[in-house]
Symmetry: C2
Subunit: 77 residues, 2 copies
């Protein structure tokens, strides 16, 4: 199975969701990307359809926005 | 592993998220509950912390609201 990508920005909502997603789908099935620490990934996430974090991009390209931590605009600011 | 519970109301956003969640965590690891068809489950979902559908309640009781299909108020109406 291809990996999913979990985008987050270190916020409490993000960290909580990260723990849940890793527990549910397995640490080997997901890449964790911190868009606050690596700003170059913001445009990658946006191009994938990510509007807010935390969000999970599935292997087939669907975006699951999980709860709400921060908008991508907030992350840029 | 205990099962997660995926609450939905049959909306397009719900169905899409259901397919993704089943693909990610496996059909044997999640119970699917349609709160539109079984209204008695609305209060169960609300007591678990579900504010909107689709939502996934993890085995440890956390609620992951995934994208946004409808509020629980909409489901009741």
């Amino acid at each position: 199975m291809s990996k999913s990508i979990f985008y987050h920005a270190g916020c409490p909502v993000c960290v909580s969701a990260e723990h849940d997603i890793v527990a549910l789908i397995g640490v080997n099935n997901v890449d964790i990307v911190h868009v606050g620490e690596d700003k170059s990934k913001i445009s990658v996430a946006e191009n994938a359809g990510v509007k807010s974090v935390p969000a999970l991009v599935t292997p087939n390209g669907n975006v699951l926005h999980i709860n709400f931590g921060a908008s991508m605009e907030d992350v840029k600011g």
